[in-house]
Amino acid sequence: MKTGLEHGVSLRVEGCAKTYADGTRALEPTTLDVASGETLVLLGPSGCGKTTLLRIIAGLETPDSGGRVLFDGKDLTSSPIERRNVGMVFQSYALFPNMTVAENIAYGLKIRGVAKPERAARVAELVQLTNISGLEDRRIDQLSGGQRQRVALARAVAIRPSVLLLDEPLTALDAALRERLRSELNRLLRTLGITAIYVTHDQAEAMELGDKVVVMRKGAIAQVGSPRDIYFKPADRFVAEFIGAANIIEAPIEDGRLMLAGGRQPVNGSEDLTTAVAMVRPETIRIVRSDGAALNGVVESVRFSGDRQRIVVRDVSDKPLVVDTANTIEVAVGERIGLAIAPEAIRFLPPDRR
């Protein structure tokens, strides 16, 4: 859909680190590229430096010396946020309680000296786009959480920013609303074709919204890749466990087979190792008849959640194995079952650097 709204710069963060006055290192030297129009998600647990990185890009924090932030190749490191033309959606929205919805949305345009009729037209366009028509004259404290979120988004987008920055914009909402707004946000980001940086600790949000996902840990980038890449090809154990559920198996490899307590599992092209670290996603494991199966185990628990079920199987590897399977398969606790894993579903991870 063409809306005349397409805008967005390419972005480069170069060697940006952040050390606070008390000596805490919030961000290790980080380099990152974002293509024009791309949505990049910074994903990680709290305290991983994702918000710090966002705030450096925004201009709300200055990186330690040596770090540079470039918009379309232009060095903006020393420009404060008000001169970067960014749109920002805050976790707490930061809407101005002394202004109406329309005034909030129009504020950035007013600052830029846009004439009143043009401002009104732009506000009309944006309330339409964000589904908040009819609320223009409301005060902020008369809005629900979801409505506030939309106003914050409309306000950030109104100024046609070079980059749209979103700091956990859905975290303050309840689960059902979060899901709905997530798909709305997705549609909006695609419609606008804007360069966007999205910070979240929710991996489902990251998967759905990101063209590219940056997984962060302890102030450093753990992996950068497409949602599929980081899900199916996690770079290390941290990423594997942080993104979705993962079975991490530690076992020796002999003759191209993973030697497990519950049997021998063929793997693809790996030399013999005394301890290999392998990852298997729960949904890639199939339950088969016990006799003749490569792997055998005993059902420890069954969690039926309607659309699917999660079965925990013990005596297969060093730790109980989690299996997600179709809801029609019936197994009982204590039953002996066979498991089948396709060799290509097994991914080896580098040993931990702990």
Binding site: L60, I81, E82, A94, N98, Y107, G108, I111, A156, L165
Partner: protein, 261 residues
């Protein structure tokens, strides 16, 4: 039965305490409109003492208001931006500055006045003008303005609002004008009332700083206690009450509203 006894005893005690505080004030005020205080209320009521006070001390009352509103103007112009800067900047330096601003609350007014006299007493014209008292009052009331504004800043999360406005391109001054001040208005109002009330009633510091030509209301009050008949001094008290009570009520009212928001 026992509960009611306890309640009655508590009520009686409370009433007694209240009376202990209220009766002298009431007596003082009625004295101001009694013909002869020593003969009591049966000597008749009169406004002659009030009129006399007005004739003698109108200038001190006027000066008090000039100084109070002058103090308010200065604390607003300097205190609100200072509170903004201190709050947004944060860190150890800001806390240090805040402590220094707050110090005059703890230092006796006399010591403060002495400091001012030692430092600026030599500047004759300045020493003799009411601006000298104004300076004293600004030093004394500034912490109340800064603190009450900063309290509201913390309450409405001004830091995020400031960042929000900045992200939309607003310069620090625009942010201050469009977002910070309007949203801090309950604190600014509370601080303003406090500053005016404190300035109107300030005695310690003013007593040291005043000259015969720069007397404020409380100084005049002390003067009348010392040298006039009791009825005049009481009438003066009455005038002071009439002026200060609406301010106190307004302060309570806005304070209550601020709490609800």
């Amino acid at each position: 039965m026992r509960d009611r006894m306890i309640f009655a005893a508590q009520l009686l005690f409370t009433m007694l305490v209240a009376a202990f505080l209220v009766v002298p004030a009431g007596l003082s005020m009625t004295a101001g409109i009694t013909v002869n205080y020593f003969r009591g209320i049966q000597s008749g009521l009169t406004l002659q003492w009030v009129v006399q006070v007005w004739e003698l001390y109108a200038s001190t009352i006027l000066l008090s208001f000039v100084i109070a509103f002058g103090t308010l103007a200065v604390t607003l112009l300097a205190g609100v931006p200072a509170a903004y800067a201190l709050y947004i900047r944060g860190g150890r330096l800001s806390r240090g500055v805040e402590e220094i601003i707050t110090l005059p609350v703890a230092i006796p007014g006399l010591a403060l006045a002495l400091g001012l006299l030692l430092t600026y007493g030599g500047f004759g014209d300045f020493r003799r003008s009411w601006l000298f008292i104004l300076v004293g009052h600004v030093i004394f009331t500034m912490p109340f303005m800064v603190r009450s504004v900063m309290a509201v800043f913390a309450n409405v999360d001004v830091k995020t609002l400031d960042e929000g406005a900045a992200s939309l391109g607003a310069s620090p001054w625009r942010r201050f004008r469009d977002v910070i001040v309007p949203n801090a208005s309950p604190g600014i109002l509370a601080g303003s009332l406090m500053v005016v009330t404190l300035s109107l009633g300030e005695f310690n510091l003013t007593w040291m700083l005043h000259t015969p030509l720069t007397k404020t209301l409380p100084i005049g009050l002390a003067d009348s206690y010392a040298s006039m008949r009791l009825e005049v001094a009481s009438a003066y008290t009455l005038i002071f009450f009439i002026m200060i009570i609406p301010l106190l009520v307004a302060m309570q009212w806005f304070g209550g509203r601020g709490g609800v928001r």
